[in-house]
Structures are given as C-alpha cells and as structure tokens.
Assembly symmetry: C2
Homo-oligomer: 377 residues x 2
Amino acid sequence: MVNKRPVREVVVLGAGLYRYGIYPETPFTTMGMQAVNNALKDAGVPWADIEVGYCSNANLGNAAGHILGWHIGANGMTMTNIENASASGNAGFREAYLAIASGAHDVALAVGVDKLRAYRQTKPDETQKETVKAPANTSMMRGFAERAHRHMKEYGTTVEQMAMVSVKNHLNGSLNPYAHYQKAVTMEEVFNARMVADPLTVLHCCPWDEGAAAVILCAKEVATKYTSKPSPRVLASVCTGNASVDPLVEMTQITATKAYEMAGVGPKDLNLVEVHDAATIEEILYYEALGLCPMGEGGKLIESGATAINGRIPVNTSGGLISMGHPIGPTGVGQIAELLWQMRGEAGKRQITKSPRIGLAHMVGAGGVCFIHILGL
Amino acid sequence: MVNKRPVREVVVLGAGLYRYGIYPETPFTTMGMQAVNNALKDAGVPWADIEVGYCSNANLGNAAGHILGWHIGANGMTMTNIENASASGNAGFREAYLAIASGAHDVALAVGVDKLRAYRQTKPDETQKETVKAPANTSMMRGFAERAHRHMKEYGTTVEQMAMVSVKNHLNGSLNPYAHYQKAVTMEEVFNARMVADPLTVLHCCPWDEGAAAVILCAKEVATKYTSKPSPRVLASVCTGNASVDPLVEMTQITATKAYEMAGVGPKDLNLVEVHDAATIEEILYYEALGLCPMGEGGKLIESGATAINGRIPVNTSGGLISMGHPIGPTGVGQIAELLWQMRGEAGKRQITKSPRIGLAHMVGAGGVCFIHILGL
C-alpha cells in the first residue's frame, strides 16, 4: 500500500519567509538566509541542531543548497537539492518529513529559494508596480483558459465567479506582509485588466516570482525541547504522478483520497486549505477535487463566501499563488508556513478568527504530479 | 543524535545499469529506461509496484525524472529530482531508503541518469578511444595533485603507489561490462600518459561520463514477495557536510564514524568498499579515512595487494570512478549496484571469490559533503 502513515510523529516547529517578488539585484543566498534564520528563530532551534536539509529550487542550478548552507554557517549537515516542478517546495518538505519519520533524524530543514531564469514578457521594474502585474506563462494560461471554458459549459460556472477568486486572494494577499501583491482589487479591475488568455485577464493569473521560504520540522518527541507553542503534526504526506488521468482534477482526487485516509480526516474536518491557484479556475477545480463542495459547484462555493478568511472553509488565506506569488522552489514551503501560522493564531491581519486545527496544502506540478500535506493540531 | 538507525529494515532488491561512456546521440531517457527496466527485472518487481521514485542528475535540468517516468509508462508514482554534486546518486538512494524506512512506502526506485553539459577539452569521439582517455576537470585535478604531494611529503607515499590504484581499477573495469574503460593498463602506461596535474597523468583521473544506474529498494518484510535471492539490508545511511574541516579526509572520517556506529560494524568487518576515486590519490586517502589501514599507510595498502579483487579488503571492484566512470547522477547508484551484485555472487569476471557479506559505498561531493551507505547480508 502506498503513502502509508509512518510510525514516528513529525511536527512543524517554525517557519520563515523572504517576501515573494522580483529582485534583480538580490542574490538567492540573501533571500534564503533570511528565510532560514527567521524559521530558526520562529522554531527556537539553533542552526547547529539542524541535522539534514533540503533546498527546493527549480532555477538555481547545482549545489545551491550547499552554497546557502555555507552562507548560514558551518553546522555539519548536508543540504540536498530537490526539484519537482511547481511542487518543488512540497517535495522538499516531504523529504524533510521522511527523514524524521524514518527515525534517521530528529530535526530537519526544508527551504525553498528561487530566482527567475529570465525576466520574461515584462521588465523587472514594471513587475514591481502593484497595478501592472507580472503575467504568468501565457501558453500555460491558455490551457487554464480552456479548462475555464469547459467548466463554464459543463457546470454553468461564470467568469464573475472566477473573478471572485482573484478578488478574494488579492484581498488576502493585501493582509500578508510576505505577499508579492499586497493590494486588494475590485471585480471591475479584474475584468478590465489586460487579457492573457480569454477569459483570464492578468489578474486571474499568478505572477513570476523570486523569494524564499523555510520551515523547521522535528520529531514530536523532541518538540518541547524547542518550543512551548502548539506545533501541528504532519497527519498526511502523499504524492502521486505519472498517471494517465487528468493532471488537475483527477490527480488531485486520487491524491486527496489517499491523504484523507492517511490522516484519518475528511474534507469536512478541514479548517484551512492552500491550493495551487496558478489561475483562478484552478482554485474552483480544486474546491471540487478536494471535496470541499460537490463536483460542479466550485463556482457557487466562492460566490457563497465560504472560502473567504472567516468563511466555512478558508482557502488561500496567504493570497495563494495569484497574490502571494509563485516563486516555484519556495511556494510549497510557504504554504506550510501559512498553515502553521494560522494554526498558531499568528497570521496577523489575515488570521482566521477561530484558529484552525486541521489544514491542507495542495500543489500540482508540470509533468502531472500532485502533493498533498495535511497538518493537524 | 543525527543519522540514527531507522526502525524499519530496508533491503536492496535489484539493480540495472546503462554502460557509462559518452553518447552524443543518445537521449537520457534511453539510458534511464534501460537502467530502470534492468533493475526491475533484476528485482522481480513490476513497474506498477514502484510507489515513489528519485531521479538523481546534475545536468539534465527540470523535470527529468517525470520525463523518464513517462517514457517507462504510467504507474501513478511521483519522481522527484535530486542533486547533490558528485554524491547526487548517493543522495537519491538515501531518499528512496528514507521513504521506505519511514513506513510511508514499501517499494522505491532510485535512478541516476546524466548527460554531459558540454564536451569539454576533448571531442566526444576522441573520448571513445580506449587509449585516449577523456580527462577530468583539470582545475579539480590540480587540487588532488596538491593532496598527492602533501601525502608523499608527510607519509612517504610514492607516485608508483598511486599508479597502482590506476592499474588495479583499470583491471577491475576491464572485467566490468558496464565500465566506460574496459582496458587494463600497465604501470608504464600510467606514467607515460598525458600529464593533467603533476604527478597525476590522465590515467590517474576519472573521465567525464554519461550513463544511467537504477536500484530498487523495498521493506525487508515484503522482499520475499519479489525475490528468493539474498537481499542486503541497508545497515547505515549517513550524510554530513557544511563543516569547517578538510572535505576529503576529515569529512570522510566523521561520516564513517557515524556510519560504523549506525551499522554496528567496524572497518575490519567490511568485505567490499566502493570509494570516490576521482583521482588515484583519493582512493589512498579514503583507505586511511575509512580505517581500512592506519593513517599514512594507504600507499602501503595498495602496494600490498590488499585492495585487489581477492585481497583482504577489495576496493572499487567496479573499476571505480577512474575506470567505470563518473557520470555524476548515476555514480552513487552504480556503487550500490556493485555492492549488491558482489554480495549475490553475480559480479561475473570481477566476482570476489568469497562473496562479501558487508559492503560500504562512499562518495564526497563539491561543497564538502560526504555520503556513506553500508549494506549487509
């Protein structure tokens, strides 16, 4: 049986971020160091106690993890580089989790850090303007636009409903000091923005990003050595891929089924969800695929307000890929940071009033992979 | 405590290789597929049973693992890319091991596959000539040459003794159908070869390589489902790095100490060792650092014949990096293949007469990392 629950309990101890954005002058080591040092501080863990590290990145090339490790300081641990497309950060988090769950290590680091390989479509300085959003990959967005049309035809989903995802996520991002875009947008602005792939304007799409995110994990049995704060356990860690199924909905359904079984929870038990919203339509697809609502009713779910910060099931309180950003290597690690901080009641202006106890992070990646982690207090 | 022994036993079930060499016309998928399919056959494991995969590579770029997986066929598993410099293959093997040791998975794949990023220093066709060896990285070899001079001065080690490592490893490679160089060399040929970095001629150095290697691991408790052959257990899996120590000798000593403790064995218990011999002097340094002989007596150890195939402690029966080759992603995985086949008495012409029961694979990597795995029947 695949993706079983390991015997050893693993908890998330702390997290740190470097604000997502575009930083032509900033070395990846500067971003990575800040994220790691913030995570160590948040976790109460000295760098010397990190036994093994995973550095998720898609664009930095060989040995990025080593270089980052050296910049932080000698501590005797090995940093292995991890890449799994958009899910690189989720994959690195999973390896750190397995390293502890196996009993091989007590304390591990998952850090994601990335730089753009090139500044595509817009110049860097343009993308820094809050109102001129760095557009995402146009050819990828054409695929999402087709999915949008199909969903509209099959289920009567509307462009307005998709735009509501953008409005919600930009509002959430405006409350997140680590988000690339920290400006709420109106429905009108979403509709009037530059068209990327009909019906998706640029405000339906995630930007290109750089940045860093780090989380510290440890065996549950040693957590009290470091912190008196509540530390969520990893209830499920599941990855699937390489299957002849729809890489978005069906792959997510397969992965979610396994993850719920492993965690011993169902979609109704979730208090918080972060999903791969490279485009607004995706968030609607994953509402359904994750079982947050029946198939075809994702449009109605966003419209009902259920996925807003204090709705029945808040989704992408961080701002998601659309507003917080999608720097690839860090993205999945940043999702875990959001779950942690929300669960600890430390999410600042975007804090869910009733602190969540069970949260889910979801990511798909090119090549047809899906990672789901469920954390629970 | 770092690098502890996990509770769940993991065994190596099977291995497959694509001969190391330089193949300008061969896609990485062709090499990777052959290695994986050979490993599946060797292990008696159907592709559908592989639950998770790790694709070690340093030069292929994003999503190589996915692409390889798709070429083999849909099976619902995720392939994560792993990079850790020269130790990339060892790092991927370790992740596959942790995935099973944790209890999350029962059957995992570690595959290493790589292509040259560029044909440096020599043209591809030249490197195919057995007598004109593709030279290794000259600047790296300058560092090894300095180590050679230091060892000669401190311990009286001779260039002849280093040349004996080359002769031994080329002889071993000549018996290995997967080795890049399958031609024994004489002491005279080693001395008369083109000088790379005094005193190291090209026959003291590992070549650039391409190729693929794959191993299948599983939980000990399910091994009999697949094979009736003896399957070595992973007794130790240790990685260290990022320390202010000599990255060759001291790093290996630190790692070996932990590995021996984890495995519950000492250097005297080893029957077979594969080490990172990018240059002949390195093999001598690691004889000492691994405790196969006292410090400073590595030169005498090779001279005594102890590390030959039927010596007291055979080292690099595969031919090592020097003769089998060093394709980076596959290298560490290929070391595990050699340990497995020797332990099963399936190493053909290079088989150690008294099949070994305990073997060690060692690799260092740029950035100062060291991986050691110990397998035992």
